[in-house]
Amino acid sequence: MSSVRTTAPSAPGPDPQVAPPADVRSLWRLRGYLRPYLGSLTLMLVAALGGVALSIGIPLVTRAIIDGPVTAGDLSALLPLCGLALALGVLEAVLVWARRWVQSGAVLGLETTLRHDLYARLQALPMAFHTRWQSGQLLSRATTDLSAIRRFSGFGLLFLLTNAVQLVATTAVLLHLYWPLGLVVAAASVPIVWLSMRFEKRYVVVSRAVQDEQGDLATLAEEGAVGIRVVKSFGRAEHVSRQYEQAAGRLLETSLTKVRLAARFWTFLGVIPNLAVVVVLALGAVGVGRGTLTPGELVAFITLMLSLVWPVSSLGVILAMSQEAMTAAARILEIFDTEPDIVGGTRVLERPRGHLRFEGVGFAFPDAPQEPVLRDLDLEVRPGETVALVGATGSGKTLLTALVPRLWDVTSGRVTLDGVDVRELRLENLRALVATAFEEPTLFSMSARENLTLGRSDATDAEVAQALEVAQAGFVHDLPYGLDTRIGEQGMALSGGQRQRLALARAVLARPAVLVLDDTLSALDVHTERLVEDALRRVLGATTGLVVAHRASTVLLADRVALLADGRVTHVGTHHELLETVPAYRELLAADAGTPEDVPA
């Protein structure tokens, strides 16, 4: 029996299930991305600070108008003062425009660059990374997280600065105008800031809970959609619906907690400045009545104070935004920090012969190092030869083929091509030399041509046609727009057999020194399979081939057969030799199963 597994994951790199801690350092590490926009950022900051000055300046002009022309009866000053107010007002609008205009270009540039780098890095990360991360988790980093960073760098960061400046400057002006009232305002902002901080902490916790539960719900929605045929087959719609509703109910409860928390906070934020207005009005009116304050000053005071409402109350939003951006930065850095551990060497095979050797190869998945899939495996495929891999389900045949183009790296031993360890070859060179037709073919939502020329974008139409011919995939020419027809999820739907034939054509077209066929013909009917095999025989005559086979007919494409069992190659020989001498092989392939004498009735 298998030993007790240790729970500690020994896999390298970050765990997609665990949220990284958010701190300022993660954001700070992304500062390099701001460098091209330093000019823009400076301009934005200047414009924003100018806006602060104006938001203080305009009420002061109002004061001058009320205390001058209105109260003192000096009408001659009215026009110039109003002209000043108008000029300041226009200037303010221009500054807002300038800030936003510049900001748009800068933050979108930043976001686009980050997204590019993220994409490039993800493409470079090995299968070991991608098997653990679902594309949905990666997508949310490329969209939601990047937007959070964009919002913060364009909006949050700027207003964190300017709001602080406005808060300090306005309070100073207020204190200067009439210090007792200034003190009232300053005192009012203390509980707001303190509460904002506290609220923000609790809010982050609840928000994250909501996010997690939304994720769970999305998973259930996806299962309900992808597994719909199974659900239908077993008549279990009620069961999955109830499951979904329970999860939705949990989300509802958590969301209501969030609503209550937010309602209390926003109300509080709204009521404090209004209470301050009450106090200011009471004390200010008394001040005006007793002559310690002018009417203009009182109006300016109230206007200025109200202009503080937004900077103060938005503090919570901005703090939440910063928190979000920090988390987002941390999540993105997780990916940037994962070094691609499959990197190419420096050597290039100029004239490859296609001599493939597995020497003492061992392999275990990173999260199960105790359970090797392959151990001390030896196999040689001579130039031009085709070897079939035969073995029971789960014996590691597909994995063995993935070691050649280094989709995975061996954990011990080595794989050599023409005597050179594949790890010493440049990755582009190696992968140009080896082409694989996968059992589950991947098609992209692009033109058929783009899908076919995946491995050789410079292929001519004649070469494409030839590859289609080999793979019996002539149906492509009959698609509505021929090779330009979009296929894949967002395009024309193709059958499993058609998809496999395209994948085969794709591999053939790459003209590799080593051609790997991973049970590529499983979805074809007997007739088509035979046609494909005839054509393949010609192709394999010229290249080295590694063929994963489940059926005798596919095995016959090969010159020799290697039998895999317990992570090793136990026997190598021709099909007939193995049939005669190896009982295990006979059991796997002999009568292709099911003859009456094999199966007890």
């Binding site: 619906s241 009521v271 109006v299 109230i302 199960a368 794709r506 035979r530 059991e587 796997l588």
Partner: protein, 620 residues
């Protein structure tokens, strides 16, 4: 748009430009469908339907929001009263009473507003969240009720995005849109009214900015509707390319696709940036535009108001109130730009959801279901006709009787109609002509639960749900005991590998089967079907991803498991056919040969005999 169009109608040169390929004249984006400015009939009806149960809560909500806005709008007026009526008594006789009275009212108004605000936020949140719950519940159930035919065409990606991004869009609207809209409307109307009440002349001067505001808002609304649509299209391109690159990373890396992918990604990424830039710049014109109108209005009010005050026609308090009100007047206008897109996307989302909810299930439930407690398993096709596309029949006219307990194998080339036959027998589709009967009862008269308990299909598509292996085997019969689960697994030969898993039957199959191989997943799917113990079992290419020993195990199991039940087996591999009592060779939707395997092999010149010979040769 300055970005190049992604689809080049002139036919792309290989390698460049036309990577996306062409799909057809209706080459529209999913996200763009039904995305017109403003709400459309379907979305409005759905919203009304969803809100109906909350009529009372909504009435309270409206009352509360009115109270809140009245209290809020009263405050500047009270400030004016404080200045005009509170100050003179102090000045004249140091009488604080009038001022304190007014201050008390302001305090009251403030507290009232706070209480109303709190009530409003809680109520709005509650209604919004409950509506969302209801949307989720309905949409999920509806998707479950729709036929596989619908799902085939709609694709799971769209099903998921209906339930995630569209629901999110509605959430955004419910969270911020309602508040924003109502408050904005009330503020605009209320402020205009109060300004006119305070001073008609000055009020009219202030409101003269109205046409400018209307023009600006109207321009923005139209321009942002256009740019919003472009942005949605572009982001969809980014997402599709991103997801497909990552989902197909094995092929990407194996074929050194990275540079070309990066090129394409840069292209779509930049198109998205350009589209966003247009949208952002619209806002960066609109917001300061409103601010400009506001500031000009304030300057004009200062000038004219100052003059009027100087002339003694208005008081300082009125002037102060005007300035305070005008501040409030322009702020909601700027917010409109924030939630306008929210409205648009919510409206589009509602439209799409309404479209889904309006879909009638292709295979409707019977109004008066027939009872069929214990099925014997006789399946009959009577003059059954069926085609996926009108005018192109897949089955022109099929007659077939499968007696209870018989095992029938269907053989024939791709497209002969074998899978279609299976789908009709399981009522994934309804025939366009004739009828399909189970024990003499038309399938259309059976409740789906009854039908599904008697007829189960296993396909190549061996989907596993998140949860343990045992959960998955138990899927069709949740009440099964652990012993029964193990027994089912044993019967199909899955027990050996399952017990070798780290946690045996309790191993989580997370990540869609995770490290289970295709064959192993298939065995689990088999165990699932056997445990469900149906009277009719349909196997559509169910053994094709098994290796030979596993397939043999399954076949051994089949002999015992199928002994007392009806079975229809579709297989490419003729080895599978050997277990059958009867073989049907199909071609172009018709049965061309019908007999026992031995009988058909012996028929000289027969199709099955030919296939069998070819197969036997391939084993040599």
């Amino acid at each position: 748009m300055s970005a190049p169009a992604p689809t080049d109608p002139t036919g792309p040169a290989p390698g460049h430009g036309g990577w996306r390929g062409r799909l057809g004249p209706a080459d529209g984006e999913d996200d763009a469908e039904g995305l017109t400015a403003g709400t459309t009939v379907g979305s409005r009806r759905l919203l009304a339907r969803l809100l109906r149960p909350f009529r009372r809560a909504l009435a309270v909500l409206v009352a509360v929001v009115l109270v809140e806005n009245v209290a809020r709008l009263a405050i500047p007026y009270l400030v004016k009263e404080g200045i005009d009526a509170g100050i003179p008594p102090i000045r004249e006789r140091d009488d604080l009473a009038p001022l304190l009275g007014i201050v008390a009212v302001v305090l009251l108004a403030t507290l009232l507003q706070a209480v109303a605000r709190h009530r409003f936020l809680v109520l709005q949140g509650q209604v919004g969240q409950r509506v969302l719950f209801e949307v989720r519940r309905r949409v999920f159930r509806h998707f479950q009720a729709l036929s596989p035919a619908f799902h085939d065409e709609y694709t799971s990606g769209r099903v998921v995005s209906r339930q995630t991004s569209d629901v999110d869009a509605i959430y955004e609207m419910l969270e911020s849109g309602f508040d924003g809209l109502v408050t904005a409307a009330l503020t605009l109307l209320g402020t205009a009214g109060i300004l006119l009440y305070l001073d008609v002349e000055l009020g009219l001067v202030a409101l003269a900015c109205g046409p400018a505001l209307a023009l600006l808002t109207n321009w923005f609304r139209k321009a942002s509707a256009r740019s919003y649509r472009v942005t949605r299209e572009k982001v969809a391109l980014v997402i599709v390319h991103f997801v497909e690159s990552m989902g197909g990373i094995r092929a990407v890396q194996a074929f050194r696709r990275e540079p070309r992918n990066e090129e394409i990604f840069d292209d779509v990424n930049d198109q998205y940036r350009a589209a966003n830039l247009v949208a952002f710049r619209l806002v960066s014109l609109f917001m300061p535009g409103i601010r400009l109108v506001g500031n000009v209005t304030i300057a004009v009010v200062l000038l004219y108001g100052g003059y009027l005050a100087h002339e003694g026609q208005v008081t300082v308090g009125v002037l102060a109130a005007f300035l305070l009100y005008l501040r409030q007047f322009f702020e909601p206008m700027m917010e409109i730009s924030q939630f306008y897109n929210t409205f648009q996307s919510a409206s589009a989302a509602l439209e799409k959801l309404a479209g889904v909810l309006d879909q009638r299930p292709g295979v409707p439930e019977p109004e008066r279901p027939a009872a069929l407690d214990r099925a014997r398993g006789q399946v009959r096709f009577e003059h059954v006709a069926f085609g996926y596309v009108p005018g192109r029949p897949v089955l022109p006219d099929l007659d077939l009787d499968v007696p209870a307990g018989q095992t029938v194998a269907l053989v024939g080339t791709t497209g002969a109609g074998k899978t279609t036959l299976a789908k009709l027998a399981t009522r994934f589709y309804d025939p366009t002509g004739g009828r399909v009967l189970l024990d003499g009862v038309d399938l259309r008269d059976l409740a789906s639960e009854t039908l599904r308990s008697h007829v189960v299909m296993v396909t190549q598509e061996n989907y596993l749900f998140s949860g343990t292996v045992a959960d998955n085997i138990r899927f069709g019969r949740p009440e099964a005991t652990t012993e029964e689960v193990v027994e089912a697994a044993r019967a199909v030969g899955a027990h050996k590998f399952v017990s070798a898993l780290p946690e045996g039957y309790d191993t989580d199959v997370a990540n869609r089967g995770g490290r289970l191989s295709a064959g192993q997943r298939q065995l689990v799917a088999f165990a699932r079907a056997f445990l469900a113990d149906p009277a009719v079992l349909i196997l559509d290419e169910a053994t094709s991803s098994l290796d030979v020993p596993s397939e043999r195990l399954v076949q051994q199991a089949l002999r015992t498991v199928l002994a007392d039940r009806t079975a229809v087996i579709i297989a490419h591999r003729l080895s599978t056919v050997e277990v059958a009592d009867r073989v049907l060779v199909m071609e172009h939707g018709r049965v061309v040969e019908d007999g026992s395997p031995a009988e058909l092999v012996g028929r000289s010149g027969g199709r099955y005999a030919g296939l069998h010979r070819a197969w036997a040769d391939s084993l040599a």
